[in-house]
Amino acid sequence: MNTEWEPQLVGFLCKWCSYGGADLAGTSRKKYPPNIRIIKVPCSGRVDPLFILKALQLGFDGVLISGCHPGDCHYQTGNYRARRRVAITKKFLEYMGIEPERIQASWISASEAGKFVEVVTEVTEGLREIGPNRLFDEQQQQNTTEAAA
């Protein structure tokens, strides 16, 4: 059995664009890392900062939020609001000591299967580099410093 650690990524994809993009990637038989677990949301504006932190607390190594390109939101402004939320969440959690690489956001339209593959691959590889999420482990800091040493 392969016991090597694999990054676990949770993706909140908007129903109108990014989920379609992921779907297209699948139907066009494009290959992307199986490390992402997709959760369909009605709009990227649905993503509460609480979801992001909860995913990290549950032990996911990273969170990807993806929605329609600016101006393309099905609900007109949802992705703009998501952008503000993601921006402060990412910056603020960085201040608390969470690596900013763990919180990622992207705009992927329903036709951009290629971009979806690219983003998921990049994010997964990025997570592989920074290592497992031990933020909420009881003994996390000792472990990360030992791993670094």
């Binding site: 921006a87 402060i88 603020f92 000591g97």
Partner: protein, 330 residues
């Protein structure tokens, strides 16, 4: 003290006139507390209570916290009702404006009695400076940018910046942004502002920062004092009390405590006026202002937004610009 006395006289006079002319139903201000050098909020409908109102360098509380619970005169309900006259320092004033922006309070139901605030004195700093317990001090008198502390009949003078709260030393707007009556002359902020202890984490690595908060939040007992005292924490039902889904367990494990405070601070984005009440109310002295101040600076840096500056402006999180924060998104 003299100027405070003058302001105090004026406050009592104005509050009396407002009640007499039936312009307001309630007065919210400060009265002397049960302990030395403390004050406590006073909410009254009675003109006879007004000579208990005080203005001194210890009126630390942010009275805006009461406003969301007070319903307008036209609304039915068992809660406190009526038009309100409220005493507001600079930061309290901004909290009030922020509540107006969020539609939690109606401006027409409010009379804001603004106080140009020269900063509040932190007793802990005084105790540290004099090495005495607050009960052993005879008097603390502010004179301009000096403070005179009398211990055992002996008076000694210190610069005022030694004893003010950190958030007062970093205050940008000591005079309320919106008021009906200003008691006294507008004051200027300190020439040399400092964010004080709030910058405790600058220059250390992310791992060390996380380690720091992990340690701090081990102490948290989840009393929710920070939430209850915060004027911007006005949710009818806080996310920590939701049970389906249950986001957080009520047990005070550091993981849950840290997550609670992180989300609470994110909810304060664009609302927090850096009044420092959360940190003051914390029974285990967690440096909460370090988080709220970071959020305060963050929304300013990212969106050029300062909380509670204009009552007609939309709240930060309901608004957007076409071009912003672009580099954070792939």
């Amino acid at each position: 003290m003299n100027s405070n006395n003058k302001i105090q006289q004026k406050l009592r006079h104005e509050a009396g006139a407002l009640l007499e002319q039936n312009k307001v139903d309630l007065i919210i201000g400060f009265e002397p507390g049960s302990l030395k050098f403390t004050t406590t909020p006073l909410i009254t409908r009675d003109k006879g209570d007004l000579d208990r109102l005080v203005i001194n360098p210890f009126i630390v509380n942010n009275l805006a916290v009461f406003l969301p619970d007070i319903k307008g005169p036209d609304l039915k309900g068992p809660k406190l009702k009526g038009r309100v006259a409220i005493v507001a320092k600079g930061c309290d004033g901004r909290s009030i404006v922020s509540l107006i922006q969020d539609n939690k309070v109606r401006r027409d139901n409010l009379v804001i009695l603004g106080i140009p605030c020269p900063g509040m004195i932190e007793l802990r700093k005084v105790e540290k400076l004099t090495g005495k317990d607050r009960d052993e001090l005879d008097d603390i008198i502010r004179e301009g940018d000096k403070v005179v502390i009398t211990v055992d009949g002996k008076a000694s003078e210190f610069p005022i910046s030694d004893v003010l709260f950190d958030n007062c030393l970093g205050c940008e707007f000591p005079t309320p942004q919106d008021y009906d009556i200003l008691l006294g002359e507008p004051t200027a902020p300190f020439a040399e502002r400092s964010a004080g202890q709030a910058r405790i984490l600058k220059g250390i690595s992310p791992q060390e920062r996380w380690e720091f908060w992990r340690r701090e939040f081990r102490r948290c007992i989840r009393c929710y004092a920070c939430r209850n005292i915060c004027p911007s924490c006005f949710c009818q039902r806080c996310f920590v009390e939701e049970s389906e889904p249950q986001w957080l367990m009520p047990v005070p494990r550091w993981q849950e405590n840290l997550m609670f405070q992180a989300i609470r601070t994110i909810h304060l984005a664009g609302r927090c006026s850096d009044c420092g009440e959360c940190e003051r109310s914390c029974p285990v002295n967690i440096p909460l202002r370090s988080l709220t101040r970071e959020m305060y600076d963050l929304v300013d840096e990212l969106f050029h937004f300062k909380a509670g500056m204009a009552k007609d402006a939309p709240p930060l999180m309901t608004h957007y610009e076409q071009e912003e924060a672009k580099d954070l998104i792939r």
